[in-house]
């Protein structure tokens, strides 16, 4: 019973992943600017990751709690970004202030 869950059409998943990869490579060359291209690339990457987890790792056919375990790292990684950002921008603040300060040290 356990190993008998429905198998998805793996070749269809393969072609979907291959086509999404080709689209990613095309998006890199699109002239929409870094912001739009970046958003599209992130969306495509997350889409591919979800397809791999759902169908290749059979998460679609597992219990919902296992899905929650699988999602936990995503929540933690998002938290990491917010933990890192204040520090990161603090460094940025210092480095951007250092250069003019070196040129004109007598300002303050």
């Amino acid at each position: 019973m356990a190993g008998e869950h429905k198998h998805p059409n793996y070749m269809a998943i393969f072609w979907l992943l291959a086509i999404l990869t080709v689209i990613e490579l095309i998006v890199v060359f699109l002239p929409f600017g870094k912001m739009v291209n970046g958003t599209m690339l992130c969306a495509l990457a997350v889409g591919k990751a979800v397809v791999v987890a759902m169908y290749f790792m059979h998460l679609k056919f597992e219990s919902r709690t296992l899905g929650l375990i699988a999602l936990t790292p995503l929540a933690i990684a998002t938290l990491f970004v917010f933990v890192i950002l204040p520090d990161a921008f603090r460094v940025d603040h210092k480095t951007t202030n250092l250069k003019p300060a070196a040129e004109a040290p007598a300002k303050h």
Partner: protein, 208 residues
């Protein structure tokens, strides 16, 4: 439910009761929890990479420096090896251990070629001046983060190849195909995870 799971389990299974989330095996739950932890590791690396890059004034354009022709081929290779992995499990489910071992071997071969391509890529980049402590194109952390993130992933692929080869040994030793079904499914989880992480690494380190 527990009786059904017990009748499916290998005769030498010693688990006292069924796993609450993955009734077919405790090992599968263990692998999922390990992968969740491992994903936090990769998540931390990528978040740190994003933080460093967002606040750097002279971060090189990864796409221009690294080139993506070889890496795109490597991405395709990993997707193919994920397909051979699911095929291995499918054949084992049908009771064909020979075909299962063949597809497991193809999967390991795909991983080995992937790591070889990565070694080739690293060698070229190092020759062109991309080092852990500096590079000719800008922020030194660019090289540091590149080698740490792709290296951490390459280490996972290398471990996966060894893991896959040892699972071929397990399938060979157990005459009953059902006895090694869980083992193959669990190595599959690990392998697909490595593929999933590469999708993220490829996007964040090369394309963005």
């Amino acid at each position: 439910m527990s009786q059904a799971a017990a009748s499916h389990a290998a005769p030498h299974a010693v688990e006292p009761a069924e796993s609450p989330l993955t009734p077919e095996s405790w090992g599968k739950l263990g692998m999922w929890i390990f992968l969740a932890g491992d994903a936090v590791g990769f998540g931390a690396l990528l978040a740190a990479y994003g933080g460093m890059r967002a606040t750097s004034a002279d971060w090189p354009n990864p796409y221009a420096v690294l080139g993506i022709n070889l890496t795109a081929a490597m991405t395709f290779l990993l997707i193919c090896s994920s397909v051979t992995m699911v095929k291995a499990l499918e054949w084992l489910g049908k009771g064909d251990r020979g075909k299962c071992k063949m597809f497991l071997f193809f999967t390991a071969l795909g991983g080995a070629i992937f790591v070889s391509c990565q070694a080739f890529e690293w060698t070229h980049l190092i020759e062109r001046g991309l080092h852990v402590d500096g590079n000719p194109w800008g922020a030194a952390l660019f090289g540091t983060s590149f080698f740490i993130v792709t290296g951490f992933h390459g280490l996972h692929v290398t471990a996966g190849v060894i893991y896959l080869l040892s699972v071929i040994g397990v399938v060979s030793r157990r005459p009953d195909p059902a006895a090694s079904y869980n083992v193959v499914e669990i190595v599959g989880l690990y392998w697909h995870f490595v593929d999933l992480v590469w999708i993220m690494v490829f996007t964040f380190m090369y394309l963005l």
